[in-house]
Point group: C2
Chain length 348, copies 2
Amino acid sequence: MRVPAYAAPGARAPLAPFAVDRRDPGPTDVQLEILFCGVCHSDVHQARDEWGSAKFPMVPGHEIVGRVTRVGQGVTRFKVGDLAGVGCMVDSCGRCEPCRRGTEQYCTQGAAFTYNSTEMDRTTPTYGGYSTQVVVRESFALRIPAGMDPAGAAPLLCAGITTYSPLRKWNVQPGQRVGIVGLGGLGHMGVKLAKSMGAEVTLFSTSASKQADARRLGASHFVNTKDPEALKAHAGSFDFLLDTVSAAHDVQGFLSLLRPGSVMVLVGAPPEPMKVGAMALIWGNKALAGSLIGGIPETQEMLDHCGKHGIVSDIEVISMQKINEAYERMLRSDVKYRFVIDLASLKT
Amino acid sequence: MRVPAYAAPGARAPLAPFAVDRRDPGPTDVQLEILFCGVCHSDVHQARDEWGSAKFPMVPGHEIVGRVTRVGQGVTRFKVGDLAGVGCMVDSCGRCEPCRRGTEQYCTQGAAFTYNSTEMDRTTPTYGGYSTQVVVRESFALRIPAGMDPAGAAPLLCAGITTYSPLRKWNVQPGQRVGIVGLGGLGHMGVKLAKSMGAEVTLFSTSASKQADARRLGASHFVNTKDPEALKAHAGSFDFLLDTVSAAHDVQGFLSLLRPGSVMVLVGAPPEPMKVGAMALIWGNKALAGSLIGGIPETQEMLDHCGKHGIVSDIEVISMQKINEAYERMLRSDVKYRFVIDLASLKT
């Protein structure tokens, strides 16, 4: 079926109305009427071909929450009327070691990402959530916990899992001192999630104006990273750091804040290579790690965790027609903390 | 008691005969007649004040094996006639969290390192193993397994624990693919230890001439790192990498060899900051970590492991009088793979 969407026609053109074909649901597919779709920084990077692999026309959007409207005959986990989510992936081979481990983003055949990618036939382009409908394999659809606000849930599908996964993988424990670097779409989820795991959270930001918000979101402490003395006061005191900043910044300086044997994980990717002295890692047995979204089983675990702890994203709901303006505002950090498109605006 | 030693009188002077005072053993001390002392790269760095914290005159040496000649009345783990080892540390506070965790190198008061440091009174200088006797707290003396060659055992006290600790901490398992980067004093221990843990070991070296030795030491594969195609063939295939190289080199290139979720640990410290792109860590959930020697309990565990597996260091035994020549040869990598001083040469 042909459904309305918004697409980037090319790297230098604003997003504009478009239409995409969605397949009829196969035996293991579910069809969703999309209710809400979050706006991720990577939408802008890819729509503007800043990562060098853009396929146009491109329909961005991988933070999708919708209502199940049709299910294939073999579908067992969803029924018509359920809420469901779709994150960064819509399929993978399912047989390779990374897939079997539940890390489908590292499928050795290459996962089918939700947009700017292809289905596993390697031919059919994938189109994302800036659209009114999507059809996806049941195994890549996530259950939205009962009672969760569907608009606030949408950003959990990318910003949520991106920050949840490293906190879990590196085993953050109640009472530990956790630092979150940067307060944006990722950082605000990092604060909420680390707090929900029982950590004592410190927010590091270059903007003193974010102190009140940091505390409201759950941070016990705030450090202005423009003040070198404030940073020094925390030397060697953190059990874990999550760095969400994608602008150039002094990563090595943050390593000095870790206790011996601790880890700092990057989820934002500064454009230039970082400069890190080997001794900053050797002295203190420290690790600098990276983390990319998360697999499907862990995404469901994250949603269930958020349901249990009453966590959703802080959002500003916009109409589909405001997307180009939203991109500009997001680049200025002028959003607290995630834009979410109400797809009802595309149906009228 | 006053005992013969060799000391660096200053940063630019060769090592020369010297004498040091050793305390009478207290109730919890053991006195060792030093039989052998390994020659570590850090001996040269510190004797030449290349790390900027040298105290002269300096008696280097922290890979010590000796015979117990006196024990304090409270000593329970050693008796006269036992072989014992002393590594990089001779004391620590014993009460802080890192000490209680058995990571005395991170004692919050600062450990008493074996030389170029002070005892915990922060006044008495420590002098290392280029000497005929040493007195040390029982809790910092290591048991040398029965039947182990005392000369070959000496380098285990630094080179051995430095490579053993990261292999254990990052949980290297039988059958895993482990890469060791560089074949020197550290690298050759890395190959032997990884092999003894059941790993399938690959040695990476810039010197094709080291291939035969790598295989003799236990490596199943050899990769000449000057051949970019050879490196590419191993992309994404390693479960763990241990980088022992202290010269400048392309660390990021090795990260591409790791499988998703894997770790590369640095134990050599290149002088210039490394340049690492964030995406090299984010894509693949990889970690770049460091590791510094190891604590006392783990050093004993390493010695016991080596005893069980028949592992010692490959060494060239020299007299104390040849130390300055040995430094020059070591800087040219002209040793397979560790010089060990026979302290009998200082007693005659």
